[in-house]
Subunit: 256 residues, 2 copies
Amino acid sequence: MISKNKIKYIQSLALKKKRKEENAFLAEGPKIVTDLLENFVCRTLVATEEWLKRHPHIQLSPKLLEIIPVNHDELSRASLLKTPQEVLAVFSTSSSTFDNKLIEQSLCLALDGIQDPGNLGTILRIADWFGIEHVLCSADTVDVYNPKVVQATMGAIARVQVHYCDLHKVIKDIQSKGIPTYGTFLNGKNIYEQSLSSNGLIVMGNEGNGISPVIGNLIDQRLLIPNYPSGRKTGDSLNVAIATAVICAEFRRRAM
Amino acid sequence: MISKNKIKYIQSLALKKKRKEENAFLAEGPKIVTDLLENFVCRTLVATEEWLKRHPHIQLSPKLLEIIPVNHDELSRASLLKTPQEVLAVFSTSSSTFDNKLIEQSLCLALDGIQDPGNLGTILRIADWFGIEHVLCSADTVDVYNPKVVQATMGAIARVQVHYCDLHKVIKDIQSKGIPTYGTFLNGKNIYEQSLSSNGLIVMGNEGNGISPVIGNLIDQRLLIPNYPSGRKTGDSLNVAIATAVICAEFRRRAM
């Protein structure tokens, strides 16, 4: 049995303002919820009684504060999804700090103004696959705790750390230490002919406008994913998540 | 001025049954519509008067049968988009035939049960970028003329040819001629350690279930996109469009 107030609270987390106030976010579906339970504090888990019976070990999770068993009708009323998925949960947001030294020691991604929740979620899933543990986001990038982003990560949000920051400042700082910065540009150099390091920052830009000029001017390695046959007239560009995947795959291939 | 019947007709093209009956489909937005005008017969183009004034050359297009100038309100009523984009158009579907020889001569993609319109659209955009001119689809793959697919291609649908067919039959036939077939499998072999040809068929599978067993059993080159560090526990898999991009990029890198 779930109260009307609890349903109202859960649904209010669709709003960024409310998520900020509460330092909380919503995740739905068995895969994402169980992935998140490993690393995030779960304030409330709402699940059908059938699902809870099939997952008795859930109750042993040390980071789980409250369980509310519901029927399908109650779950539907709490869910933001068209097709509710047996379980949803409210988690505390994490407030990890970021040290630029991490870019010196490993390969990191920076997102400059990504707007589409599906793109951000997909990019985190790519980062997860390719072992990129930290993703920096400009302040105008979509909120990682937006429910659509959370769903699109398919659970990767449990493993990849996302930090909102002043990208300009970070890049200035790491460049003063000689750490390489990479970005894709339609007038960049063929990525397959460039040397790629196993640390540094790969910057990906906004869906419509690419990397902003103020950031773009700082980047020292301007890369291009060549089309085929090279130089042939095609569509204007690849989707940003697609480009991120091809670039991350190539960096990791070199490091193998 | 656009008639109520015309609006009803345009909106009916959201339905696959209607598209089949009419051999027609809907595309919206200046980029996609102008791309399509190069290769497809346009039965009706509906655009704001402002847009038509700014694009006088449109009227010279030999494949354009009818132009209906409208105001913003009329456009909104005809459009399937939340944010209508100045122009939309009804095109005749193309009925090109496919010859398996094309797989002998070039690299082609085959999609086995792709369900999500956004994924199919994105895959066609990838094919366009990497110069893959023909994409074969199993009968249970989402309809390429679904308006959501058309929008997601960002115009690539104007250049990449899509053929619905019996994949099993095609693969049997090309294998009898010694043409290689590739697919991705979680237990496949590291793609970076395999030889890749510049012709043949790359098969990509359904979002949830991957390549169907009946097709999977036929594939002779089983590939894996390695995660990083290799073998590390991550999410279950990459999204199918993301995997398609990484694979196509690698095939084309080898052919450079």
